[in-house]
Structure formats: C-alpha cells, structure tokens
C-alpha cells in the first residue's frame, strides 16, 4: 500500500494575526507556523496503515519554507518527502495543480489530505486534486478500513451522523480531526528522519483563477466586557447569574 499525504506548513490561527500593509495578505510578523492540524491526523492515519499492511508513505508539501513540516512528518514515520518550492500566494486550484504535476510519476493507492487548512480554511485542495486525477473521493473521513483494492470510509455529516461509503483504490480521502491520536515525534524519529530523502520538484504554476481584493478584520458586535481582577469578575458574574435567577 503506497499512500501520498499532503501536508501544509501553515500558520497557527492562535498566533498574532494582522493584515499586511498591502491590505491583501496576512502579515508574516507574529505568525507561528507548524504542520496544519488536520494533516497531523492524515500523516498518522497513513503511517498506521503502513504499519499494519506494509508499503510506503510519501509526504508532499508546497511552499519554499515547508521543510520543518516535511521533516516532522518524516520523524513521525513517513518514508520520504517531496517538496514543491513554489510560494503559495495563489489559490487552492493552483496548489492542487502543482501537486498533480509533482506526483505524476508516483504509483499510489491512496492520497490523503487534511479536510482543510487551519489558516485559509478552504477545504478544497484534496478534492480538486481528485478531480484533476479523475479519482473517486471521500471527504471528512473519521474512520477508514482498508481492504484489497478498496477502502471503506466513514464520513462525518452534520449533527453527529456519519455516512459509510466504499471506494475503489486508487482514490483520494480527506481526513477529519479526531480520526486517531497522532503520535508525538520521538528523538529517535528525528534522528532517523535526517537520513530520509527530501526531494525537490520544481513546477511552474499557472495563472490564478482568483484575485484577492482586500483583507481586513471582520466587523464584530462586541459582548459587554466585564473588567476587574479575577475576584471582582467572579463577583460580577455571580450578580448577573442571580439577576437571571440562575443561582
């Protein structure tokens, strides 16, 4: 079983976020990057399947600065990495396109992507890639059973419902958080990762189908803020609860 996993080196939405001076992009200052949270689950799932059935896990990252994330995936247990050193100031379509080009000589059984990126939240790249490769797809998988020539996936729907579907391989699956418990990177893993292959594949992206006109802080209606030290805050909260007959 050979599995390709897409892993994005992405800013954490909990880092300090502001708009850059061009008014069209996120300011890089204050951003803390790490592997996209959904992709941790995708890498873990692929490694577990490999541990169970044998095969190979290849991680793919797009971006000039994505090495840390690819190394992390190798340290978790992926076998090799493909880096596409193209800067991602373009849309998901282009990201999928360069990935398609870079993996064209790889024979694979499955491609895993995260359900979405933690920064841009597009939830597109995996599905776009499936369409470009003309492969069946299932999104938001919360459980996978891999059998000979097919995968049985449980997909997450709204309201706690799931849908079970069956796909032939090769196919593309996007992984929802919580599908497994991703392992921590061990010192041994980091050491082993050093000798693993990280290949760069240069691809030129085509023209974007989207144009960013403006980026800004969303207007928010604000809650009534309660100020004071913790004891005063607690006092005021209790008053509010009392007024409402909640205590």
């Amino acid at each position: 079983m050979k599995i390709i996993v897409l892993a994005k080196h992405a800013p954490d939405p909990e880092s300090e976020i502001s708009v850059a001076s061009d008014g069209k992009s996120v300011s890089q200052s204050g951003l803390v990057y790490d592997i996209n949270d959904w992709d941790r689950y995708a890498v873990e799932e692929a490694i577990r399947i490999k541990e169970d059935k044998g095969g190979e896990v290849v991680v793919v990252g797009v971006g000039t600065n994505c090495d840390d994330t690819l190394r992390k995936c190798l340290a978790m247990g992926a076998d090799r990495a493909i880096k596409i050193p193209v800067d991602t100031s373009f849309d998901a379509y282009t990201t999928a396109e360069v990935i398609k080009e870079a993996i064209k000589d790889e024979q694979f059984d499955m491609i895993f992507a995260g359900l979405m990126s933690q920064d841009l939240n597009n939830a597109q790249v995996g599905v776009l890639l499936a369409a470009m490769l003309d492969l069946p797809v299932a999104t938001a998988a919360t459980e996978l059973k891999v059998e000979d020539g097919k995968v049985i996936a449980r997909r997450e729907l709204e309201g706690g419902y799931l849908e079970e579907v069956e796909l032939p391989t090769p196919c593309v699956i996007t992984i929802q958080s919580g599908i497994n418990e991703p392992r921590y990177v061990s010192i041994m893993g980091i050491k082993r990762a050093k000798s693993k292959e990280m290949k760069e594949v240069s691809v030129s992206p085509s023209i974007s189908t989207l144009e960013i006109e403006k980026m800004y802080l969303p207007p928010v209606k604000k809650a009534e803020m309660i100020e004071g030290d913790p004891s005063q805050v607690a006092e005021k909260l209790i008053e509010i609860l009392k007024e409402r007959g909640l205590i």
């Binding site: 976020i17 499936a130 069946p136 706690g160 849908e163 579907v165 144009e211 604000k222 913790p230 209790i238």
Partner: protein, 318 residues
Amino acid sequence: MKVFCVAEYRFDELNPLSIELLNLANQIKGDGSSEAVVIGKDVGKYAEELAKYADKVWKVEDDSLENYTPDLYVDVLLQLIEREKPDIILVGNTAQGGEFAPYLAAKLNAPIATDVVAVDVSDGVKASRYLMQGKLMVDLKLKSTPCVLTIRQGVFKEGTEVGGEIVDAGIKPSRESKRKFVSYIEPEVGEVDIAQADIIVSVGRGIEDESNIELAEELADLLGGVVAGSRPVIDNGWLPKDRQVGISGKVVKPKLYLALGISGAFQHVMGMKDSELIIAVNKDPEAPIFGVAHYGVVADLFDVVPELIEKLKEIKGA
C-alpha cells in the same frame, strides 16, 4: 445573471440552506433567474418546496441517484450546466456540498470560493469569506464565469417567495458511480443529553489538559449544570463525543452557556449561538467568541474559574 442553486436533503427533509441559496440567488440575479437543481430518485416533494422561492426548478431523477455520491452529482450537474449555461452555481457549504463543489469546479475549470458569507455582482463576481478560523476576512474576485460558490448556512435567511415552474431536466447519469453508498450511522447516545441541559459549562482547547476537566465539572456541579466541549476537547478524548457542541456535534440552547477557553469558530458557534445567556472567558481579546457572547471576560480561565467556584461555595454554604 442565471444562478443555479443545488439543493440538498437528507432523511426526508430539505436542508433549509437550500432555500437560503435561493434567497441569495434572488438578490443577485438582476434580470436573470434563480434556478434550483434537485437530484435524486424521487424528488417531487422537494421540488415543490423549492419552487416557492425559485424561478425554475430542475428535477434530475434516476434510480441510481437515490443516495448522494459525488461522482454522479458531478456527472449530472456537468451535463445540465453545459446545456443551460448558468453564470454562478451556488452550493451549500455542508458535508455534502463541500465535497462535490470543488470537484465540479475543477471539472468545469471554473473558479471556486468556499464558505462564502457575502456576494457582490456589481462588477464581476466577488465573494467574501473568513480566514484564520474567523479572525480575518477576505474579499475575492472570481476571475471568470461560470464560477462556483459554497455558501455558509444561516446568512441568507431573509427572502421572498417567487413561485416558479418545475421542469424535468431530462438528464440521466452517463456512468456508474465508483463510490458506493453503504449506510448512515446514527450519533452515539451517552448518559447525559447536553441538548436538554439548562446550564452548560463548555470548555475548549484553552482547558489545556484532561486533568483540568475536573475544574469545569466542579463549577458545573455548583451551578447545577453539565460539562460540554468544543471539538478539539472531544478529539483529544477528554470528553465523550456526545458532549460536543457544534455543527458536527449537538445544537444547544441552554439558559446559560459558559464558554471557557473557546475561540468561537463558526462550526462551534452554530451549535450554541441561540443560548439565552452566553458568557465567554478567553485570554485573547480578539477571540471571535466575544462576537456572539452577551458578556465577555478577557482573562485566564485558571484565574477566574477558581474564584467563581469559591464564591459559589460560599453562597451554597450560607
């Protein structure tokens, strides 16, 4: 503009978001038309509901379309789009729409924007959406038509009836689906139904560790409520799945929703925004949760919660 709206239904009910798509279509169509597309085995009753708000409803019916598969949805939509040439295709940003819409866009070679909350067609097609889990917003121009937009639920609730015709599209799938539907699986039920609780103490990633859940439990006990959580807390196994609030968990409307260390991502907010009283404690003053809360406290929850517990104990003891 000719605006297509792809309808969605499940378990015998039309998703209200399908009507919201039509509301949006009616706002932006100008002298064009709002046209719903409903796909399935026997979709007459959905078509009738949709026709109230659409200029036209296209029915695409076939036995093989009984259960949704992205393969066949895309197959029949491509045929219909090719023939009818809509300018914009609206799809709900749901587990289903979010899956087939990018596939359709790629096959059409069309630009796509997902999880859109505002659309402007005064000068080409522009869409607004959030980034960074609600902390930033972007206005995008889609450079060509047809284009595909997936629309966030709950934004376009207002609309007026139009009263249109229902037409059989006369389209059949051109192939078999590679992906097969197997079954639906019901949510697990646990011993506590958070949807029935009057008071919910809800914890997010800010609770930091499983061992701190106790703190929330102590507070919930003193308030006579139950503990619930955001998705990461459930993903980490700190609380059972049936305690998850949000779009893929439960929708709750308690008398009090106390959000501790929850950022307020849309998928969470959809599960608690109609609570009667929302109080949020978060150390980040910019956290989007303060946009839905009635009262907000910018503080470390580990400072505020113990104080609250102390004071409640005093009251109970007195």
